[in-house]
């Protein structure tokens, strides 16, 4: 059992000495193989075609197994990750075999606008004794670009955060534009145990939100069910040398041996990226946190759980302000919970929260301290023709997102995505069917719990296209202007060289055309819940279980 995490994400450049192998650097691990393979797909979206930029595999966690005994794998893995800057040679020696080989596809941009695969990362396990352990902990549970799109953060079920950084464009390697490489990895949350209730608190990262960059360091908020943490990710490329009282290894020198004094100087060193927790906001939520949202004033943020929403100041960790509380006095009367919440992108006093009954409430914090009374209430009247036992469950909103303009909100319930105008409360202005063919399967989906899956939805930078996930590793994009939509699949098979990514189609009726897939063959265990869109460019990140796919739209 060997720990392979750091070694897999090695770079060609000198920028990541963190994972430096004792035997020297690896050769370039992203190199073109074979002849250029144009991978493109046409979509009817009007947006052109999407290409796979890179498929980054979050490596499965493995543990160090000593000869004598079984070591608690979790402990070793976690401590390793936490102390990654002090990883020993031994760790790396053991992990050195797991060299990934990546396939880089150069694609000549076709005349029309196409989405093409720029890069695919594939892992080749060279050593037979590598066993991926606890694969579940690697299921990606959240994906988020930062405000410039330079960084992409993913959180997984094991409490880890992996940050990818976009490769800088360089003149000689213009094709590399769009690659994302691992920038930093750290263990954000640990599993905890609630002794009062005798229940575990999962370390799964529910949400990550970036703060806008104000200095050289990057800040992000990550949360599990109970605790929010503010992480600072900073680079260090210089270190002081020439201390008087300490020698180069840090050991104290015997003062008697010091004969001269010198001034320490800063010398360049190999770039190191370190992540430190700057704030821990704990013990404020009785129920499970489902959302966090940074306010546009960049001084406060809110965290929402099933029944309450708290407002925090970044500087104060021992106090939070409760702004919404829908807990009934008698818990037996509880029929509705909060499912998502978000601040308005421009107005720091406005936020929305969605409920399990398909309603959205917009609140203004200026109105009162406790925003139990909403300012606006968005609800679409139920369509009587579609009424069924599951009407309420499928109307439960799993995600709500403001548009970048701040004028619209988008909500995702089980079968549809709806766009609402903030000025119109009685119905959405647009409704898109994501997978309406599931409407007749609701009973089975209820039985296997798929009906409770929480899909997310995202806007593109210009608010013209919205995207959301579905089953069978499908994800869908809807162009609001042209009213066209496309279904794409994020899968390993389609990311091979010379493979052509095609738009997929699910057939509902009896006759199945050649490339269509029937509803009954859909794999409901492969669901795309988390996606992210670059804030200004057409680059998307799609999380499919433990794989991360990055697609790009190449414009000519």
């Amino acid at each position: 059992m060997l720990l392979s995490l750091p070694a897999l994400h090695l770079q060609t450049s000198e920028h990541h000495p963190l994972f430096q192998l004792p035997h020297g650097r690896l050769g370039p691990w992203c190199s073109p193989t074979g002849s250029p393979a144009p991978l493109s797909c046409e979509t009817g979206c009007g947006e052109g075609t999407w290409i796979l930029v890179c498929r980054l595999l979050v490596p499965t966690q493995v543990s160090l197994l000593s000869m004598e005994e079984d070591i608690d794998t979790r402990k070793i893995n976690n401590s390793f990750l936490r102390d990654h800057s002090y990883a020993t040679e031994e760790h790396f020696r053991l992990a050195s075999f797991s060299l990934p080989s990546s396939l880089l596809h150069w694609s000549k941009p076709p005349p029309s606008r196409t989405w093409t695969v720029v890069m695919t990362y594939q892992q080749d396990y060279l050593s037979p004794c590598l066993y991926p352990l606890s694969a579940l902990s690697d299921i990606i549970s959240t994906v988020e670009f930062n405000h410039t799109g330079e960084l992409l953060a993913t959180g997984d079920k094991g409490g880890r955060v992996v940050i990818f950084q976009r490769e800088q464009e360089s003149k000689n390697q213009v094709h590399r534009r769009g690659e994302y490489n691992v920038y930093s990895t750290f263990q954000s949350h640990e599993p905890e145990f609630d002794y009062l209730k005798s229940l575990e608190i999962e370390e799964k990262i529910n949400k990550i939100r970036w703060l806008p960059q104000q200095n050289a360091a990057y800040f992000l908020l990550s949360t599990n069910d109970k605790t929010v943490k503010l992480w600072k990710v900073s680079e260090r490329d210089k270190r002081p040398e020439g201390y008087n009282l300490k020698d180069e290894e840090g050991r104290l020198r015997d003062p008697a041996t010091i004969t001269t004094l010198r001034v320490p100087v800063l010398r360049p060193m190999d770039l190191m990226v370190e992540a430190t927790p700057r704030r821990v906001f704990a013990n404020a939520h009785t129920y499970h946190i489902n959302s966090i949202s940074v306010n546009s004033d960049y001084e406060t943020y809110m965290s929402a759980d099933d029944l309450r929403i708290n407002l925090w100041n970044f500087e104060i960790t021992n106090q939070s302000f409760n702004i919404v509380d829908i807990k009934p006095a008698n818990m037996e009367e509880l029929t509705e919970v909060i499912t998502a919440a978000e601040f308005h992108p421009h107005h720091c006093n406005t936020f929305v929260y969605s409920s399990s009954k398909g309603t959205i409430r917009l609140c203004d914090m200026r109105a009162s301290a406790l925003c139990d009374r909403h300012t606006k209430f968005f609800e679409e009247p139920e369509d009587p023709s579609n009424r069924s036992f599951f009407s309420e469950i499928i109307s439960s909103i799993s995600d709500v997102k403001f548009s970048h303009s701040g004028r619209y909100i988008m909500t995702r319930d089980y079968l549809t995505v709806k766009v609402w105008d903030l000025n119109m409360e009685n119905r959405p202005i647009e409704t898109y069917q994501v997978h309406d063919y599931l409407r007749s399967k609701l009973c089975s989906l209820y039985e296997n719990d798929c009906i409770f899956d929480k899909f997310e939805c995202v806007w593109n930078g210009s608010d013209s296209v919205i995207m959301t996930g579905s089953y069978n590793n499908f994800f869908r994009m809807f162009d609001r202007n042209t009213k066209r939509d496309v279904t794409l699949e994020a899968s390993r098979e389609n990311s091979k060289p010379r493979a052509i990514l095609k738009p997929r189609k699910v057939c509902v009726g009896g006759k199945r055309r050649k490339d269509e897939i029937s509803v009954d063959s859909l794999d409901f265990s492969k669901k795309i819940l988390h996606t992210a869109w670059h804030p200004s460019e057409n680059i998307i990140a799609v999380a499919a279980t433990n794989n991360l796919y990055i697609f790009q739209d190449k414009v000519n």
Binding site: L199, D306, N330, S440, D523
Partner: protein
């Protein structure tokens, strides 16, 4: 439930349900509607009470399932086919309430605000309501009987509603009995889940009594039918060692004289309530249950004995 990457195959039974939804008005689809409702009801109960995760169950999921159960209960109530005497606002939410707030508390007083007393009251009043038909048969004066018990909590609907609805109830019961031959096993399986936690204590115990309570409260006649399953398991775990309910109550029930279930469930309900309440109740119940030997004896028990049991339930 799903194999990884495996093709999903739908249960034929459920597949048949998928197409037929709603519209309980017309004849043949009313049957399938009821069937579907019953299936969903069972699934919901199983979800709530069989799930034993290491981490706290999702509140949203629990609330949605509870709402589903409540809706079905409301529908059943509206159809007038069941005992309205059972608390309308029966705590399906108690199941939700409990894991949230008070799962740390130990077994008996596991419900949020209402102490065990109302539950016993509920049981007692339910008992009383169930007793009404028996009293009707013997003594044509339901009103005196109803008012005789001072303990009827505000929650209960007047049991006087029961007699006029006997007919519709029994017909609905028969109809559903034809349709759902397999739900007994489902209920038994469902009872197994919560049952297994009786000794675990902690969050397990509070949920289990609610599970059993929940099993009794929803006015589903089919559920009542399958209550025997609950009790056999109850008795077999040794919790009610003094009681030989299965022998007494469920061996050979002569339903020709009593063509609906309330009587069966009455004593059943009482016994079902026993694990929830204190041990004294158990002991007081035991002598009464052990007396009758013949299968149909409970139904022939004296009114006074039942009255006494009721007083015991109400009193503690």
């Amino acid at each position: 439930m799903l194999g990884k990457g495996g093709k999903r195959k739908f249960d034929e039974h459920e597949d048949g349900l998928e197409g037929k939804i709603v519209s309980p008005s017309d004849g043949p689809s009313k049957v399938s509607y009821t069937l579907q409702r019953q299936t969903i009801f069972n699934i919901s109960l199983m979800k709530l009470y069989n799930h034993r995760p290491l981490t706290e169950p999702s509140l949203q999921k629990t609330v949605l399932i509870n709402n589903m159960l409540r809706r079905i209960q409301e529908e059943l109530k509206q159809e007038g086919s069941l005992r309205p005497a059972f608390p309308a606002s029966a705590p399906p939410a108690a199941a939700a309430a409990d894991p949230l707030g008070s799962s740390s508390r130990e077994a008996p007083p596991a419900f949020s605000q209402p102490a065990p007393a109302p539950c016993e009251l509920g049981g007692a009043a339910a008992l009383e309501a169930c007793l009404t038909p028996a009293s009707l048969l013997e003594d044509d004066d339901p009103d005196t009987f109803c008012t005789s018990s001072p303990a009827a909590p505000a929650r209960l609907a007047p049991p006087a509603l029961l007699p006029p609805e006997k007919d519709s109830f029994s017909s609905a019961l028969d109809e559903i009995e034809e349709l759902c031959p397999t739900s007994t096993s489902t209920e038994a399986a469902e009872a197994d889940g919560p049952k297994g936690d009786s000794s675990s204590g902690g969050p397990g115990a509070p949920q289990r009594p609610e599970g059993l309570q929940e099993g009794g409260r929803p006015e589903d006649p089919k559920l009542m039918d399958s209550l025997p399953g609950n009790f056999e398991i109850t008795a077999s775990t040794g919790f009610l060692t003094d009681l030989t309910l299965d022998d007494i109550l469920f061996a050979d029930i002569d339903t020709s004289m009593y063509d609906f279930d309330p009587c069966t469930s009455a004593s059943g309900t009482a016994s079902k309530m026993s694990p929830v309440s204190a041990d004294d109740l158990l002991k007081t119940l035991a002598p009464y249950s052990s007396q009758p030997v013949a299968p149909s004896q409970p139904f022939k028990m004296d009114l006074t004995e039942l009255d006494h049991i009721m007083e015991v339930l109400v009193g503690s």
